[in-house]
């Protein structure tokens, strides 16, 4: 249950850079487990545009043909709104790739550390044309 075959544990080859980026607090780590790195692809069924964190519901097909529903945590939606996205910007049916860390108790939740479209484009940035056409919050860049 805690390891689904689909989720290949990925060895992150990281250089431990002695930089100030080192997070002294383990805030996200209080809910999500650094030992449960998960990568999966699934279909969005719903996105909740709420604070303090947006949540994206993703249906993931397993190799045995059954489907698991995952909840993927993301950042504050207000930033996206200011960039011109709206609740229409991520439609149910969109296929996304989630690279993140699973809940510490093994529940089907993960933080969306990297959220991309299957072709590698970053979610929202990559599919900007799908939703935000310079909505009310369009930022000139």
């Amino acid at each position: 249950m805690r390891t689904t075959i689909l989720f290949a544990a990925i060895v992150t080859i990281g250089l431990v850079v002695g930089s100030r980026a080192v997070s002294a607090h383990h805030a996200f780590a209080s809910e999500f487990d650094a030992n449960r790195h998960v990568v999966f692809t699934g279909t969005v069924t719903k996105m909740m545009w709420v604070n303090p964190h947006a949540w994206i519901y993703v249906d993931v097909k397993k190799t045995d043909g059954t489907t698991e529903e995952w909840m993927v945590e993301a950042g504050t939606p207000n930033t996206l709104l200011r960039r011109g996205f709206t609740k229409a910007s991520l439609q149910p049916g969109t296929v996304i790739k989630v690279d993140g860390y699973q809940s510490k108790d093994g529940a089907l939740r993960a933080n969306g550390r990297d959220l991309t479209l299957p072709d590698g484009r970053t979610l929202f940035l990559g599919n900007a044309e799908a939703g935000a056409e310079g909505g009310p919050g369009a930022v000139k860049k």
């Binding site: 545009w49 949540w55 709206t86 609740k87 909505g135 919050g137």
Partner: protein, 293 residues
């Protein structure tokens, strides 16, 4: 004797005279109560060319218990609360008396009443299914924020925004004046766009979360809710508040509430904090604490 008679009659006569002067303009109109026209004509002072609505305002009504007619009731847990927990009776603030629910929607409203004091946040997907949002200290939405038994402040200056800040749950909303863009997503206090019609501030509210209620009686709406509010100054001390509520999923036609708002007049009165989150934590999360189950 004679002196005594005059001593009595003079104040009485004076009072009658005042009353006549007050009522004279209405003679023959048989005005319905709570209509703006019940007040003598009033033109509000101007600020930057518009009526000045600045101030701390409050409704004095039991509409937050029930928008419709309601009898006095004990409130929850009278065995603990006694008369402390009692809810007073009140007359309907709904034009025509009743909310025009579709039959199936009325059943949901009744279910809401039955469930108003239940909560269950153990599952994100059913997080909002039970309980009056007020009891959970959730932001009340519009129009409920206006007639809850807490003051709110209107801050109107010379920018395209008017602020309405509410004491309950430190909720607030910005009214964007003459604004075109639609709500980018749904929020608890909604997306308010305003304009002036004469002395009346008209606010169009969309984009409200479907989970808010109108009162403790479970009166509710769907994600199709559209509210048009009208704030009309009646005197230096009164605003008339009208809200027309439209939701084709839930009601057979649009309906309207009318509630006067009173200026808070105490010296140095100010909005205080009513941060009620701490009052709800045991109720919402108590069963998840260590040793609870």
């Amino acid at each position: 004797m004679r002196t005594r008679f005059w001593r009595v009659i003079t104040p009485v006569g004076f009072a009658v005279m005042i009353a006549l002067i007050w009522l004279l303009p209405l003679a023959g109109q048989a005005p319905p109560p709570r209509q703006p026209s019940a007040f003598p004509a009033y033109k509000a002072p101007r600020l930057n060319g518009h009526p000045d609505l600045n101030g701390i305002w409050q409704a004095f009504t039991t509409a937050n218990i029930d928008l419709e007619d309601h009898e006095a009731q004990s409130g929850p847990h009278p065995e603990l609360m006694g008369a402390y927990g009692g809810w007073p009776a009140g007359q309907s603030v709904v034009e025509g008396g009743e909310i025009p629910y579709k039959p199936e929607a009325l059943a949901k409203k009744r279910q809401n009443v039955a469930n108003r004091m239940k909560v269950d946040v153990s599952n994100d997907k059913t997080w909002h299914n039970l309980g009056d949002p007020e009891m959970k200290c959730y932001m009340p939405g519009i129009p409920r924020a206006t007639y809850m038994p807490y003051p709110f402040q209107i801050v109107q200056g010379s920018s395209p925004y008017i602020l309405m800040a509410y004491e309950f749950a430190t909720a607030s909303r910005t009214i964007r004046m003459d604004w075109k863009d639609e709500a980018p997503t749904d929020t608890w206090m909604g997306w308010s766009r305003g304009h002036w019609e004469g002395d009346t501030l008209v606010v169009d509210v969309t984009g409200q979360r479907e989970e808010t209620w109108f009162d403790r009686a479970g009166n509710y709406h769907s994600d199709m809710l559209h509210v048009v509010e009208r704030f009309t100054p009646l005197s230096p001390y009164h605003l008339m508040y009208e809200a027309t509520i439209e939701d084709p999923k839930v009601y057979t036609r649009p309906w309207k509430i009318t509630i006067p708002l009173y200026r808070r007049m105490e010296k140095n009165v100010q909005l205080l904090e009513y941060k009620c989150v701490p009052f709800t934590e045991e109720m919402l999360y108590g069963k998840f604490k260590k040793g609870a189950s």
